[in-house]
Amino acid sequence: MTASPAPAVHEAGPTRNVITRHDHRGDTTIAADVAVIGSGAGGATIAAELAEAGFDVVVLEDGSYYQTRDFTADSSAMTRQLYRDGGSTMAIGDPPVFYQEGRAVGGSTVINGGMSWRTPETVLARWDRELGLAGIARELEPYFERVERRIHVAPMDPEAIGNDNLLLKRGADAKGWKIIGNLRNQAHCTGSNRCAFGCPTGAKQSALVSYIPRALHYGARVYADIHVDRVTRRGRRATGVVGTVHGSGHKLTVHAKLVVAACGAIHTPALLVRSGFRSPSGQLGRNLAMHPNVKVVAIFDEDVTGWKGVHQAFQVREFQDQGLLFAAVNLPPALLAMSFPHRGAALGQLMQHYDRMVLAGMLCEDTTTGRIRTIHGRPQAFYQLAGADAANLQRGVVLLSELLFAAGARRIYLPFHRAAELTGPDAARRLLERPIPPRGWEVVSVHLMGTCRMGTDRSAAVTGRFGEVHDAAGLMIADASLFPTPIGVNPMETVMALATRAAGYVIDNAARFLAA
């Protein structure tokens, strides 16, 4: 193989070995032991672990490279830069489900809330019992510990907790419901409440400021602004990757002994399909879980100023066994205004109360699944909210409204079409008298899971227990697409733990992987 000259790299400080679209002068061919596609929770983690172990690692990222200093107060600009398709991605269904994915070096960890929870024991027990992943709980334990140390998982500093979260706690305490302090990957977050737009203080230990610098430090190269066209293969063996540089259209070819797909639950199955890989299990692209989310807006008499203070300091866990989690979140006025049905003078009057609003959201562990179809090489998600999940959301809205009224809310606005505002807990309970059909809901998602489920039975799973794709060689997956079921909590830490475990598997079998 004749490698063409590598493009220039940034030499200053932590950006050394980050190659962006501006550095390419033509088509480029490089070689590496491992090509990792995606730089989020899974990709950055496995890249750092393998680079430290001495593998020559190249990371390819569709999005651009931004650093902490690039994250500004301009929410709209941040959304355009850091979110795939400017945040307009949508699963087709009735209702459609809008979902958010990060598209930048660091992936969705750059824009998530930083909630860091281990996979619940009940979920791991199910994976163990029903999916052939025997002993997975015990196996993952040391990897969770390692991840938590690396990304500094810790409770919030109490003085950084804002009024919106304190009101949520007040309501939960008044109801006698279980509420816990959130664990987040942060080192002294001081509550800028900008998690969703790139942490401007550097406190959130996203992959961008943890695993990516670590990978670079141990010699990995990160190519930003690369759309991966396909994984190259010889028969069933993956041999590398071909990508296109955004902007210039130059080609980047990577010859690699191991290819790791870590593009997330939407893009990983599409990448495999357009690269010609198939799964005899028939499960490739199936089992998409989304943790449907809805939100309510409560207006209080007192000043809340919810944009000052840490993001989601608490989680209400009272109904976790029924698949429901509640938290207070905050959105800038523009995002809140777009979600209200009001317009004109009515919108202006409502928004005058912005600093007295608490926005509270709920996550529902879904009982149904959708799928990814690959259309002209691009993924399209299809997801139909189940009647049972809509009923659970309806019940959750009532419970959350009761909590907010118990905290002192005066009015509550609801997440479905033409809903009247609520003025008291009785009105909230009356909501249960008539079912709201699935199509009536306004649902979003930030947790995308499944679509390449792992499992030991190759007739029922796309990958083995470490993410190696069944019936392929030199190809692994390290992202949330591996999840056999939804997990009911924020998925980042599970993804990182699975990726760390996968790295251990590759290190233990280095001779086999490097001999390819």
Binding site: E49, E52, A53, G54, F55, A73, S76, T79, R80, D85, G86, G87, S88, M90, R146, R150, H152, A187, H188, T190, G191, S192, R194, P200, T201, G202, A203, V209, S210, R214, G219, H227, D229, T244, H246, G247, G249, K308, P332, P333, A334, A337, M338, F340, R343, G344, A345, L347, G348, M351, Q352, Y354, D355, T500, A503, G504, I507, D508, A510, L514
Partner: protein, 169 residues
């Protein structure tokens, strides 16, 4: 895959959107109409081409749909007539019309409250707050923050003693 040429509003799209500012935005935002419409172009630019085309088709349908009843395009309607026409789409029994009305409303109200004057009006001043939060972290917690930054790079091999290749000299 390369990005398409940056999106700009067509003359027609700009006129239709401009005519909707008094219908969708609060009265105090009406003087900001041109900036709001320009901001919508930035948002649309980030969307995939298919969604953008769908939006523009819906906007064209909205514009032309006024002809049978008002003998004018929507872009020329003002005051009560503009209000009544939009409200008819909002409450239509045709789901497509409801969707078009809702998406226009969502994008326009997003752009409306992205205007600095509107953020100021509701008391949202994230810039100074970010500066204060950053300063507080670096003064109160500098040592811990630096310790974490060092920990990120400190050697901690997943398989101690195993190095598959020698590190480059």
């Amino acid at each position: 895959m390369t990005r398409a040429r940056a999106y700009r509003h067509s003359h027609t799209a700009r006129l239709v959107l401009r005519s909707l500012v008094p219908v969708i935005c609060p009265p105090e935002a009406i003087p900001l109409g041109d900036a709001i419409v320009e901001h919508m172009a930035l948002t649309l630019r980030a969307f995939p081409a298919a969604i953008r085309l769908g939006f523009l088709a819906g906007l064209a349908g909205y514009d032309l749909g006024a002809l049978p009843r008002y003998r004018r395009r929507a872009r020329s309607l003002r005051g009560d007539r503009a209000e009544r026409y939009y409200a008819a789409w909002e409450a239509s029994s045709a789901r497509l019309q409801v969707t078009v009305a809702r998406v226009i409303k969502q994008l326009m109200s997003l752009s409306c409250y992205e205007q600095p004057e509107m953020m100021e009006r509701v008391g949202y001043r994230p810039g100074p707050w970010i500066a204060e939060a950053t300063r507080r972290r670096l003064t109160l917690h500098r040592d811990d923050a630096e310790r974490q930054a060092q920990q990120v790079l400190a050697p901690d091999p997943l398989r101690p003693g195993v190095r598959v290749k020698q590190a480059p000299a």
